[in-house]
C-alpha cells in the first residue's frame, strides 16, 4: 500500500444573475412611527444571510444604525416582486433595489427633518447613530424618532421609498453569438491537495486553498464562511455524495435518507485557507458580486486534477469513488 500525494488547481468565473425574460427584483421601504425602517421584500433568506446584507445596504444608504432596520420577507403573494433566490443573484439584485428604495426614503427623511429644523435639506447629513444634523453645526440636530413623529403627526407625510433592479433581457447577436447575459462575474481559484491510497482507492482531501475575487465583501465574515462552507460542499460532491447506483431509474437501491447518503463529517474536513480579493463591480451594490453557488465549483475539478497528479488516473465523473480510482489504476497497469 502506498499513499500517493498530489496537488491540482482549478479556476472558475461565475455569472451573477440570469437572462431569461429579464431579471428584476423590487424593494419597498417605509419608516414606522418609532423611527425604524421596514424593508418589504419577497426575496427569501433561507440561511444564506440575505436579510443581513440588505439591512447593511439600507443602513449604509439611510445613514442609520443597523438596529433601526427591519427586514420583512413575508410573502410572495403580498410583497414586492422578486424573481427568487437562485443564480447567486440575491445580494446583487435585491441589494441594488434596497439601495434605490433607501435613497428615496432618505430624501424624504431629510426633507421632513429640514422642515423641523427650518434649514435647507441639502445642508443636512446623517451621523450614523440615529440623528440628522446640520453640516458644520452638529448641535442643530433631530433624532429619527422625532423625524418620523413629525412626519406622521404634523407634516402628514410618509417616509418611504421604492426600489427596483432590472437586468433587461438580452439577445445574442446572431452573427457572432455575442451577448450580455449577466451583470458581472466573480472569479475564483482553488488549489487542492489530496492523498490517494493505491490499495483501497480512497481519496482523502488534505487541504483547499481558495482565492476569490468577489467585487466587494459586504459582510467579510459571511463571505469567508460562504467560501469555506462551499468548499466543504465541493469536497462532498467530489468524493462523497451520490445518488448512485440506480437514480433516477429506480429508487429501490439508492440512498433515500441521511443514513445512507454519504457526506463528510467533521472528521473528514480538509484544512482550508482563503483569501478574498475586492475589485468592486460598477453595477453591484457597493460593488458586490454574487458568490453563492460558485463556492462549491472550483474544489471539484481541483480535486480531480490533484488525483491525476497523485496517481495518473483521470476521472471525469463525480463522485471520485474508491471504485473509480481502482479501475483507473488497473487500466494504467494493464
Amino acid at each position: 500500500m502506498t499513499l500517493l500525494r498530489g496537488r491540482g488547481y482549478a479556476s472558475v468565473n461565475y455569472p451573477t444573475g440570469m437572462n431569461l425574460g429579464g431579471d428584476p427584483s423590487q424593494a419597498l421601504i417605509h419608516a414606522t412611527t418609532m423611527g425604524a425602517f421596514v424593508i418589504s421584500l419577497s426575496s427569501v433568506d433561507l440561511g444564506q444571510g440575505l436579510k443581513t446584507v440588505v439591512a447593511q445596504c439600507a443602513a449604509e444608504t439611510l445613514g442609520m444604525p443597523m438596529e433601526n432596520v427591519i427586514v420583512d420577507t413575508a410573502d410572495t403573494d403580498t410583497g414586492p416582486h422578486c424573481m427568487g433566490t437562485f443564480a447567486s443573484r440575491g445580494t446583487h439584485r435585491v441589494g441594488n433595489a434596497v439601495i434605490m428604495a433607501a435613497r428615496e426614503a432618505r430624501d424624504v427623511m431629510l426633507a421632513v427633518a429640514a422642515d423641523e429644523l427650518e434649514v435647507d435639506a441639502g445642508d443636512l447629513e446623517t451621523d450614523g447613530t440615529g440623528f440628522v444634523r446640520l453640516k458644520g453645526s452638529p448641535e442643530t440636530k433631530i433624532h429619527i424618532a422625532d423625524i418620523t413623529l413629525a412626519a406622521h403627526f404634523k407634516q402628514g407625510r410618509t417616509i418611504s421609498g421604492r426600489g427596483i433592479f432590472l437586468k433587461e433581457r438580452n439577445y445574442p447577436v446572431p452573427e457572432t453569438g455575442e451577448m450580455d447575459p449577466d451583470s458581472c462575474q466573480a472569479h475564483a481559484c482553488t488549489v487542492a491537495e489530496v492523498e490517494v491510497d493505491d490499495e483501497t482507492g480512497v481519496v482523502t482531501v488534505l487541504s483547499l486553498h481558495n482565492a476569490y475575487e468577489i467585487g466587494r465583501a459586504l459582510n467579510p465574515a459571511m463571505a469567508a464562511q460562504q467560501v469555506e462552507g462551499g468548499g466543504w460542499m465541493g469536497v462532498s460532491h467530489a468524493v462523497f455524495e451520490s445518488t448512485e447506483p440506480y437514480y433516477p431509474a429506480s429508487r429501490d437501491h439508492g440512498p433515500v435518507d441521511f443514513c445512507e447518503y454519504l457526506m463528510p463529517g467533521p472528521a473528514e474536513i480538509p484544512v482550508q485557507s482563503s483569501v478574498i480579493l475586492e475589485r468592486p463591480a460598477s453595477n453591484g451594490p457597493f460593488g458586490a458580486k454574487g458568490i453563492g453557488e460558485m463556492t462549491a465549483n472550483a474544489p471539484i475539478p481541483a480535486i480531480a486534477n490533484a488525483i491525476f497528479d497523485a496517481c495518473g488516473v483521470r476521472l471525469t465523473t463525480m463522485p471520485f469513488t474508491p471504485e473509480s480510482v481502482l479501475r483507473g489504476l488497473d487500466a494504467l497497469r494493464a
Binding site: L46, G47, Q48, G49, A221, M222, Q225, E228, G229, G230, G231, W232, M233, D257, F258, C259, M263, G265, P266, A267, I269, Q272
Partner: protein, 159 residues
C-alpha cells in the same frame, strides 16, 4: 394517552401524550419550546438533540410516554437571562453558525461533551458532533467554537 411529567430546563411540566408522541413533538407543539428542530425525523441529522437526564438524545426517536419523570435540557435553558452560556457565546464569537438550523442540536451535543469531558481533543469533538449534520459551515468553525468553549469553561473553573 398518558399524563407525562417532565422537568424541562429545571421547571416541572405536565402534559398528555399519545403513544406516538415523540419527545420532540411534545417539546415543540405542547410545551412551546421550538429550539430543538425537526430535520429528518428519523434520528440521522441530530437537529433535535436535547439532553435527557444529562445524555444527548435525538428527541425525534424518543416516545414521550417512555421518559415520564425525566430531566430534559433544551437550548432554551442554557442562557441565564440575557447572558449566554459559554458554548453559546463561543458559537456566536466564532461565527459557528450560518442558517442556524443545526445550531441548537450542535450546542446540546457540545454541552453533553463538555459536561463529561472538560478538556476534549479535536478528535473527541469530532466524535461528539458526528451525529449532527451541518450543510452550511463545513464544520470547522463549529469544532473550533467547541474547543474554545472548553477553554473558556476551564478558565472559568480556575477563577
Amino acid at each position: 394517552m398518558k399524563i407525562v411529567n417532565l422537568k424541562v430546563n429545571g421547571v416541572g411540566r405536565t402534559f398528555i401524550a399519545r403513544p406516538e408522541t415523540t419527545l420532540l413533538l411534545a417539546l415543540r407543539e405542547q410545551l412551546g419550546l421550538t429550539g430543538a428542530k425537526r430535520g429528518c425525523a428519523q434520528g440521522a441529522c441530530g437537529s433535535c438533540t436535547v439532553l435527557l437526564d444529562g445524555q444527548p438524545v435525538v428527541s425525534c426517536l424518543v416516545p414521550a410516554v417512555t421518559v415520564d419523570g425525566s430531566d430534559v435540557a433544551t437550548v432554551e435553558g442554557l442562557a441565564d437571562g440575557r447572558k449566554l452560556s459559554d458554548v453559546q457565546q463561543a458559537f456566536l464569537d466564532g461565527f459557528a453558525t450560518q442558517c442556524g438550523f443545526c445550531t441548537p442540536g450542535m450546542i446540546m451535543s457540545a454541552e453533553a461533551l463538555l459536561d463529561r469531558n472538560p478538556n476534549p481533543t479535536r478528535d473527541e469533538v469530532n466524535e461528539a458532533i458526528s451525529g449532527n449534520v451541518c450543510r452550511c459551515t463545513g464544520y470547522e468553525p463549529i469544532v473550533s467554537a467547541i474547543l474554545d468553549a472548553a477553554e473558556r469553561r476551564r478558565a472559568g473553573a480556575n477563577l
